[in-house]
Point group: C2
C-alpha cells in the first residue's frame, strides 16, 4: 500500500485470540448444571458462553451499555441512490437527539446510553450533550467519480472512532448509524470484500422502487469499475466507504481491543465490522449479530461471515434499532448464567436416563 | 356431547371479533407517518397494529403483565415418556417460586409478575405468596389406559383458569407451564386436533434419546387408539390432555374475553391455545406467538394455526421462558407506536420519490 504519507495513528491491529478451551469447558459445565434440560435454552446458552469468552471469565457482567449512532453524508447520494433527500441525515440526527426516533425510544426502554457521533454530516448540527462532533468533512465525495475520501481522511475517521470509544464507559457497544445513501457505500464494500456481484449486495435501502434500484445498481457498477484495482481493506474503505463507516471501524477495533461485547445492527454496521474483521479477524469473536435485515444483501453477508443473527424481524431501519431490540436477549444470557440455580443448589433431580 | 351431568360453569364462548378495518387504517396511518422508511420496522409494526386491535384503540398500553406458570403431573409419565422423573414437576415449582429457574430470572429482568398455579401436581406444595392452589387432583390418569380425567374434572380445571385470570390485574398474559410428561399430552392433542400422524407431532421433549422417543411414540399411539372416537375439543382435552393445559384453556378464554394480549410460549402452551381456539377461533386474534420451539412438532403446529412466531432461538424449556424472552419486543411495539415522532412533528422530510 502506498498512500503518500506516513500513517499518523497507532491503531494496534494485533487483537488477542479469546478462544479458551478450558474456560469454555468450565462455563459449559455451569450452563449444563443449571435447572433445565441440557441445551434447552438453545441459542441463549451459546450467547452466554460467547459473553464469558469475550470477558474471559465465568461470570460476565454487562455494565453501562453504549448505543452509538455514527452519522455522515454520502456524495454518492446526489446520484439518486436513495428514496430520501440528503438533508434527512441531519434531520434524523436531530430527531434521534430529541428522543423521537425509533432508536431513541428503544434506548430509553432498555436503559442504553445513546450517543450520536457526527462523523461527516453535510450541515453543522446544533450542540447537544449527547452529540460528539468528530467531523472529518461535510460528507464524502461521490465514489462514482473519485475516491469517497483521501487515505488521510479515512485514517482520521478511524482514529476518531477509537478515541471516542476509549472515552465511553461500560463493556458493551451497540452499533448504530444514520446516513442517507449509506446502503450504497455498504453494498460497494460488500461487493469488493466478498467478491460477490453487486446485484447480490445492493438492495432497495430505505425503499427504492424498481427504477430506483436499477439506477442505484448502475451507479454502483460505475463506482466499482472506477476503483477496480483497489484490493486492500483500508484502500477499499477509502475509495468506496463512508465517514460513519470508517469511524465505526475505529470504534469496533478499539471495542474489540478492550474486549467489549459488540452488538452489530444491520447492513451498514455489518459493513464496518467486515472491514474491521478484514484488518483483524479476531474482531468477530467479540461480535453478536443482532438481526438479519430485510435489506437483501444482509443475509448473504452474514452467511459469508459465518454468523447467525439473533432476530429475523424484517427490519431495515438502521439507527441501531435492531441492536437495541436484541439487547435484552444478551442481557438475559448474562443474567441466566449469573442467577439460575443448579440442580444441586435447588434440590432438583437430574435426568432419570 | 353427553357427559352425564349439566355443565356447572358458565364459560361464555362467544368472543368479539376484534377485526376493525377503520381502526386498522388509522393505526397504519400513524405507523406510516412515524420517522422511518415505510415498513422499516418490519414485524414490530405488525405487532403494534395487533396490539391496537386487541385493545380496540390507537394508543394501546401494557399494564401489569402477568406471567402465569400452570403446573401439573401426568399419569402417562409413568410409562417412561420423559427423560425426567415426575418428582421434578414439584421440585421445579419450588425452584421457580424460590427465584432460581430460568423463568424466575427472566421475569425479574422484565418486571413481570410471576404466579404459579398448582393445577394438579402429584404432591402437596408448601404455601407461597405467588402460588395459587387450584388442584383438581394429584395428576391425571394415564391416558394410554383410560381418559386422563373426567369431563367434570376438565371443566373444573377450565373454570379455575378463568377465575384465576379474573383476579389477576393488567392487560397482558404470558403463558408458562411445568409438568413432566406434558409434551406427550400436547402431542396427543395436536395429533387429534390437526389430524396429523403422531410422528409429526411428538418429539424428544426434555431430551429423550432414540429409544426413549420410540417408547414415547408407542405409548402415544396406544393412547390415540384407545380414544379413537373422541372428536370434540373438550372431549379431546378430557381424554388426552393435562390439568395444566385444561386450566390454561380457561385462562386463555377468559383473557381473550377481557381482550388481554396473550403471549404464547412453546409447544404446551400452544396446545392450550389450540384447544381454546377450537372452541372460539377469535382467541387467536388476541395471541402473539413468542417463539418457535426446538420441539419438533411446534413449527408444524404454528404453521397449521397460520401463526408466525417472533423468535427462533432453539428453545425447548417451557416455563414461559420463551414468552418472557419475547416480552420486550411486544413492549417495544407499544412504545414505538406511543412515543416515536411523526415526520411532521420532527420536521423530517418525507420521501423524495
Amino acid at each position: 500500500m502506498n498512500h503518500g504519507h506516513e500513517p499518523h495513528h497507532t491503531m494496534n491491529l494485533n487483537l488477542t485470540d479469546i478462544r479458551d478451551d478450558a474456560l469454555a469447558a468450565r462455563v459449559q459445565y455451569l450452563i449444563d448444571h443449571k435447572t433445565k434440560p441440557l441445551g434447552a435454552l438453545g441459542r441463549i446458552e451459546a450467547l452466554a458462553l460467547r459473553l464469558a469468552l469475550i470477558q474471559g471469565c465465568e461470570t460476565p457482567r454487562l455494565d453501562a451499555p453504549q448505543l452509538v449512532v455514527f452519522a455522515a453524508d454520502h456524495g454518492i447520494a446526489a446520484r439518486g441512490v436513495s428514496a430520501y433527500p440528503q438533508d434527512v441525515t441531519a434531520q434524523m440526527v436531530s430527531n434521534i437527539l430529541a428522543g423521537g426516533a425509533a432508536v431513541s425510544v428503544l434506548a430509553r426502554q432498555h436503559g442504553l446510553a445513546l450517543t450520536v457521533v457526527d462523523c461527516g454530516v453535510r450541515s453543522n448540527l446544533a450542540p447537544h450533550p449527547s452529540l460528539i462532533v468528530a467531523k472529518v468533512m461535510q460528507g464524502t465525495a461521490d465514489a462514482s467519480e473519485q475516491p469517497a475520501m483521501t487515505r488521510r481522511q479515512c485514517e482520521d475517521a478511524i482514529d476518531h472512532g477509537a478515541r471516542i470509544l476509549r472515552q465511553l464507559p461500560g463493556n458493551a457497544l451497540l452499533l448504530g448509524e444514520m446516513g442517507i445513501g449509506n446502503t450504497s457505500a455498504a453494498a460497494l464494500l460488500m461487493a469488493r470484500l466478498t467478491g460477490l456481484p453487486i446485484e447480490q449486495c445492493a438492495g432497495r435501502g430505505t425503499g427504492l422502487d424498481d427504477a430506483g434500484l436499477a439506477r442505484k445498481l448502475e451507479v454502483l457498477r460505475r463506482s466499482l469499475a472506477l476503483h477496480a484495482t483497489v484490493r486492500e481493506p483500508l484502500d477499499i474503505l477509502t475509495a468506496l466507504g463512508g465517514l460513519e463507516i470508517a469511524t465505526m471501524v475505529g470504534a469496533v477495533l478499539e471495542a474489540a481491543r478492550e474486549r467489549r461485547a459488540i452488538l452489530v445492527d444491520g447492513f451498514i454496521t455489518t459493513a464496518a465490522v467486515a472491514v474491521a474483521a478484514a484488518l483483524a479477524p479476531e474482531v468477530l469473536q467479540r461480535c453478536v449479530f443482532a438481526h438479519c435485515s430485510a435489506e437483501s444483501g444482509h443475509a448473504r453477508w452474514l452467511h459469508y461471515l459465518g454468523q447467525e443473527p439473533l432476530l429475523n424481524l424484517d427490519l431495515r431501519l438502521g439507527e441501531g434499532s435492531g441492536a437495541a431490540l436484541a439487547w435484552p436477549l444478551l442481557r438475559s444470557a448474562q443474567l441466566l448464567l449469573a442467577e439460575m440455580a443448579s440442580f444441586d443448589s435447588a434440590g432438583v433431580s437430574e435426568r432419570s436416563e
